[in-house]
Amino acid sequence: MQAEAQSGSVIKGFVRSAIAALSIPALAIITAVVLGGVIIVLVNGNPFQAYFGLLQGSFGSARALSETAVWATPYIFAGLAVALAFKGGLFNIGAEGQLALGATSAALIGYALPGWLGYNPPAIIHLPLTIIIGASMGGLWAAIVGFLKAYTGGHEVINTIMMNYIALNSISYLLNDPMKDPNPENVIARTPLIAEGARIAPIFDGLRVHWGFVLALLAAFLVWWMLSKTTVGFEIRTVGVNPDAAKYAGINVKRIIILTMALSGMLAGLAGTFEVTGLNYRHELGFSIGYGFDAIAIALLGKSHPLGVVLAAILFAAMRNGATRMQFLTQLPVDLISMLQAMILLFVAADAIIRYIYRIKAQGERVVLTRGWAG
């Protein structure tokens, strides 16, 4: 009897905590959608038509669903990158640069390796190598910032932003000059197409969704497993909550900071890698602009939980994907979506506002996401 009652209360507690965890993001989304509707009315649009178009464009057909999954793939990886860093007490604003660098180096291995070797390597070697290089370049780029943070105290927020500009400037140069597609008809800053052996197949014939989406879901599971079931994950979370306590407990804090940034950068690098190997088969200048900031919003919306990140990524993907249909139906610019997303982020970050509007009491400890300059 007692055990039954206890398990009953455990289930009740779980349901309650799940509702508590989900209620703020859900209410933030609702509030943003309502405010977005007001803005649409203000610019002489029809909000119902706009939101209908958004839904139809993102979930209305097999094709729409496939495209939503295509958008969701880099969002899940990049969102996981930011979320993992948050868990370790680090704010990675550099997903954008890490992603672009991952995409550029994956494209390089993808198109240039056959030329370097003198023959076409089999897909079983070429594809994994492309993915590994793409991921590790992203990881290396972020690890530099982790190293600076661990050994000099240089704040990761500004350093990741600086690394973004360094990456994007360098990539502009590479795609405009040494890595530019030499095809005489090409005027765009983009690489040549990657070899067949470095490509990931679509899941269904005729739809663009590729196996990278499945791998993204798998990555979300792995990140959750690592964070909650392994020693390294425990160390990352401990450093994130209280680095001083972690140090006294014998954790090598410097090593964990560098490792966290490296893993985070690898995930961001994978986001770029799969855009190249699964979707575009090349890297083109500017295709990834804005992914890094979207990733921050996704991680915050998903409360840095891998499952939450997947859900938030799918929501953002649906909005981006449905926006074209919305624009077609209502002539509202696609950029409306950026506004909606910014408002969702605002309400998630400032949950006090949501709590105030809907009269929800705060509960539990505040999660520390970042620290000031001195930390």
Partner: protein, 370 residues
């Protein structure tokens, strides 16, 4: 400012100016190159100076502000829009419209900073997250309105971006007129005076940025307001105990910071070029923060750091002018992508603290709980 940092700044300036003189020698005399480089440096350092001052006011009062980038972007956009609306829709003259542009840029900077103040002071949101929200919101808002106002359905401009009423004029300082009689007809001497004059002939926002540096220094270190601001940022509890309203002081200083970031925004679309493009601030709000840190949260220190960044940007501009005369072994200086990296790399070096560690205000980034 300690000697090590001052030496570093001097070294970088000498290297950057030296490079320009070295490369540009076949085209122009060293004096002319140095003065024109100096003039460009002061001009392009303007938004960095103002952004760093914005940061100084916020952080001296204890509020971390990484939203300066977003405040600048929003101000650049709304100032530009205000100028266009007053010129084309309300049919004001060009002069009035441009002035309206500056006023609205400052106001929109303040409005964005009010949001930051509400988030970080009243709702005690993590200040770095709050700043990031400001940055993302500014990108979304300006991108959306830029498209909607000109190309949206029912746009009064019917699908094209109209001409802006223009940019702020250069203010001529009569150095040549005053000193040329001293030369007594020597052409070389006249040339030098004209070249020096060029450094002082700046536009209104650039000039006010320099005046504001000294005003900020005076306000922060020689007035009651400044003392209270610093008290609130160092030890809010003690300030509260002696009757200073911590919340009010923080709000006021964040709003001052917003106005300064707004003026920086005006530099982009009303002083520098009469147009707007999405993301035009291009990280300069963040570089301002690095200037503020390197300047040890003091206005004059921040200004000198901003000049270093300005000089590295000016180097890039000058190198494009000297494109055709760059010698083979210096070809890398011609590559604007590579030279464009200098400010970003400098920022990272500065943040490592190897050129002298700086100390932020003690309560920087900590919400005040009574």
């Amino acid at each position: 400012m300690d000697l090590r940092r001052f030496g570093f700044i001097l070294l970088i300036i000498v290297v950057l100016f030296g490079a320009v003189v070295l490369v540009g020698r076949p085209m122009s005399s060293p004096v002319l190159i140095v003065t024109s480089m100096l003039a460009t440096t002061i001009a392009v350092a303007t938004p960095l100076t103002l952004g760093a001052l914005s940061g100084v006011f916020c952080e001296r009062a204890g509020v971390v502000n990484i939203g300066i980038e977003g405040m600048m972007l929003a101000a650049a956009f709304f100032g530009w829009i205000a100028a266009i609306y007053s010129f084309h829709i309300f049919s004001f003259g060009a002069g009035v419209s441009i002035t309206m542009g500056v006023i609205f840029a400052i106001l929109s900077g303040m409005l964005m900073s009010l949001l930051h103040a509400v988030l970080s002071i009243t709702y005690k949101v993590d200040q770095i997250i709050g700043g990031t929200v400001i940055n993302i919101l500014a990108i979304g808002l300006t991108g959306f309105l830029d498209r909607q106002l000109f190309f949206g359905r029912g746009s009064v401009f019917g699908g094209q971006v109209p001409h802006s009423p223009g940019v702020l004029p250069t203010i001529h300082v009569p150095i040549t007129e005053l000193f040329s009689p001293l030369c007594g007809g020597l052409t070389n001497c006249l040339e030098v005076i004209r070249a020096i004059n060029q450094v002082f002939d700046q536009k209104p926002v650039a000039i006010s940025a320099i005046l504001l540096v000294f005003l900020a220094h005076y306000v922060l270190f020689y007035t009651r307001w400044g003392l209270r601001t610093r008290a609130v940022g160092e030890h809010p509890k003690a300030a509260d105990t002696v009757g200073i309203n911590v919340i009010k002081m923080r709000y006021a200083n964040v709003l001052i910071g917003g106005a300064l970031a707004g003026l920086a925004g005006a530099y982009f679309t009303i002083e520098s070029v009469p147009s707007f493009e999405p993301l035009l601030t291009n990280g300069r709000g963040f570089i301002s923060l690095a200037a503020m840190i390197f300047g040890n949260w003091s206005p004059i220190g921040a200004w000198s750091a901003a000049l270093v960044f300005g000089a590295s940007q000016a180097l890039n501009i000058k190198m494009q002018l000297f494109r055709d005369v760059i010698p083979e072994q210096w070809a890398i200086l011609q590559n604007s992508y590579v030279v464009g990296l200098i400010p970003y790399i400098l920022t990272m070096i500065i943040l490592t603290g190897i050129i002298g560690r700086t100390i932020p205000p003690a309560a920087d980034g900590v919400p005040y709980e009574k």
